[in-house]
């Protein structure tokens, strides 16, 4: 760095003020806006068509050329969805909310505990287990899913006399045991950046390790907690693989497998149902967008501050 210092000073001296732009010139600047806008259109286009489709009437859904916006928005589609025979959208939505929140709370609680153990205490195999934790980041779930399935079938059967397959336990319980390597890793990185002096001051004031976590680390780690919360919410809300494997009773489904169930119903010939499928998809996207916007401010900071950039 020191070798480059004179050069940098020189550069600062002759650089035009506020020269943030890397591509100089009026034209290329315009081109950047054009590319960014094109990107935004490509990314948002499907949402536009889905939203417009969700507001069309059954009569309008199979028209070519398709009207870009429905002649009269059918908000009733969003109501009709909940009254569809053979589908249980109200139930599925509620199921999704319960499963997601229960897993999210488990993730936050147990990941905080593990991250605290990894970042603030010296213990025998800590560094070894931290490497193990990191390597589970790249472990594909497919490798362990079969024994996990058997575990959730046979162990509860032996202990309680009934299987946990086709219940929510296999979806929720694992989150309460560490909440996934990514959450632990992110929180640990964040805890490590909080100065130890704060802990030590608290120890002098008579705080025990529980109080240090609760009163010192957690309030300072809000951006990381929000990041973990968002990731965990999205992971469980979007999860399709696990409910597909563990659940078979339609009334127990969360939205993800419920929507697929409904999609297969809707594939039967007969009255078009694409508008209802679009409405259901929009309803499934909605909570993700809401939670992102409410926590966005913490979220980006959480990623940047944890130093997860390689």
């Amino acid at each position: 760095m020191s070798a480059a210092e004179p050069l940098v000073t020189f550069a600062r001296a002759i650089a035009p003020p506020r020269s943030r732009q890397q591509f100089p010139g009026y034209l290329s600047r315009g081109m950047l806006y054009a590319i960014a806008t094109l990107g935004a259109v490509v990314f948002m286009g499907p949402f536009f068509f889905a939203l417009s489709g969700s507001l069309k009437s059954a009569a309008e859904i199979h028209i070519f050329p398709p009207p870009l916006v429905p002649s009269q928005p059918e908000w009733g589609n969003y109501v009709r969805l909940f009254e569809m025979p053979g589908a249980y959208f109200a139930r599925w939505y509620l199921n999704s909310i319960i499963i997601t929140l229960a897993s999210m709370v488990g993730t936050i609680v147990s990941a905080c505990a593990a991250a605290y153990g990894f970042s603030r205490f010296r213990w025998g195999l800590r560094d070894f287990f931290f490497i193990v934790l990191l390597s589970t980041l790249v472990l594909p779930e497919e490798v362990v899913i079969i024994p996990k399935f058997l575990l959730f079938h046979y162990v509860p059967e032996a202990l309680f006399g009934h299987t946990w397959i086709d219940t929510w336990w296999p979806l929720i319980l694992p989150s309460w045991f560490g909440g996934g390597a990514f959450s632990v890793f992110l929180l640990r990185q964040f805890f490590l950046q909080i100065p130890r002096d704060l802990d030590e001051a608290a120890v002098i004031d008579g705080a025990n390790s529980w109080q240090i976590l609760w009163k010192i680390l957690l309030p300072l780690a809000k951006p990381a907690l929000a990041t973990v919360a968002i990731f965990s919410f999205l992971t469980h809300w979007n999860d399709f693989f696990h409910p597909l494997i563990y659940l078979s009773t339609v009334e127990n489904f969360p939205m993800s497998v419920g929507l697929r169930w409904f999609q297969q119903l809707a594939n039967d010939p007969g009255e078009p149902r694409e508008h209802l499928l679009m409405a259901a998809s929009m309803l499934m996207v909605l909570p993700c967008v809401v939670i992102f916007f409410t926590m966005q401010r913490y979220f980006v900071r959480g990623i940047v501050l944890s130093g997860i950039k390689g």
Binding site: A36, F49, F149, G178, I303
Partner: protein, 322 residues
């Protein structure tokens, strides 16, 4: 250490704490470490390490749920690799094909998007949000929406083509030739603006401005500055996204289940569909475990090669690795 010295001299509250446990401070720290980490440790043993050993054992057995596993040596692996299971190699091929297209294109587009967002354009926050929204979309919803877009007679894509003068657009998901590329587009839509882009953005923002200014003074144009200043400095981020991206692409499953059911004519029959089918449709848990281990070994080998290869091209500031 300092804290320990100080605590020994402090007031009554700490003395009480000390008296309660007979352990030395060092032993107490050891115990606390294990205790705080224990939920994860237990979860690791119950849901990761134990199951891995179990599936390794099962991969050498013939095991239908309800019966007792019968050890059959390497038969499951032979059955897979020798082609006796005639969908094994095709499903592997599809999956690798998918990854070979998705990883380079996905990473390049994510980097391009992140670079755009790093140009301090007006409204960057809005662009960032718009780019990011598709990656928030649940895969089920994405698949349902895209099926509708791809719908040959009334879908938006063929309507756009019709505007451009194509009278009869392709039957995207219904034809073996176009089904796989169609799924790739869905995959790109949901991943380009997601985590990889945010991680690139964080990487780009950590490139010191001074280096850019210095290069500019030396007469480097925008492309040269990107190529010779930015790119080397963000190689750790590229490496990270590469490792994660390869694994994510190889795991492709849900989008195929939802949009094509692995068809038409097995054109999108990915490896994990194959595995899922044997495990949870046929309940041949022994053979499926062998498939799972083959997949695991593939992922581990690729990740290992990636790490080895990274030493040649990833630049770590100060020479140390994270």
């Amino acid at each position: 250490m300092t804290s320990q010295l100080l605590t020994d001299r402090t007031g009554p509250s700490l003395v009480r704490v000390q008296r309660r446990s007979r352990l030395s401070p060092r032993a107490r720290e050891e115990l606390a470490g294990w205790l705080w980490t224990s939920p994860w440790l237990l979860g690791f043993l119950l849901f990761v390490f134990g199951p891995m050993l179990a599936s390794l054992y099962l991969s050498f057995t013939q095991y239908a749920v309800g019966s007792t596993p019968r050890v059959i040596g390497l038969d499951n692996f032979v059955r897979a690799l020798s082609g006796k299971d005639d969908l094994f190699w095709p499903s592997m091929g599809r999956t690798v094909e998918y990854a070979l297209v998705m990883v380079p294109i996905g990473i390049s587009l994510s980097l391009l998007a992140a670079t755009l967002l790093n140009q301090s354009l007006k409204g960057t926050a809005i662009y960032r949000t718009l780019f990011f929204l598709p990656s928030l979309t649940p895969v089920v919803a994405a698949a349902v929406i895209w099926r509708w877009l791809y719908q040959p007679d009334f879908g938006a894509i063929n309507w756009l083509l019709w505007q451009l003068g194509v009278d009869e657009g392709p039957r995207w998901l219904a034809k073996p030739d176009s089904a796989l590329p169609s799924l790739m587009v869905i995959g790109l839509w949901t991943s380009v603006g997601g985590g990889a882009m945010l991680i690139f953005l964080a990487g780009l923002q950590s490139v010191p401005r001074e280096l850019h200014d210095a290069a500019a003074i030396d007469g480097a144009n925008a492309w040269q500055r990107f190529r010779n200043v930015t790119l080397p400095l963000i190689t750790p981020t590229i490496f990270f996204n590469l490792v994660i991206g390869i694994i994510a692409a190889l795991k492709v499953f849900a989008v195929a289940v939802l949009a094509t059911q692995g068809g038409p004519n097995y054109a999108t029959w990915f490896f994990n569909l194959h595995l899922y089918n044997y495990a949870f449709q046929f309940f041949e848990m022994g053979y499926a475990s062998a498939l799972a281990w083959i997949f695991f070994l593939l992922v581990v080998t690729l990740t290992y090669l990636n790490v080895r290869w990274s030493r040649r091209w990833v630049y770590y500031e100060g020479g140390d690795r994270p």
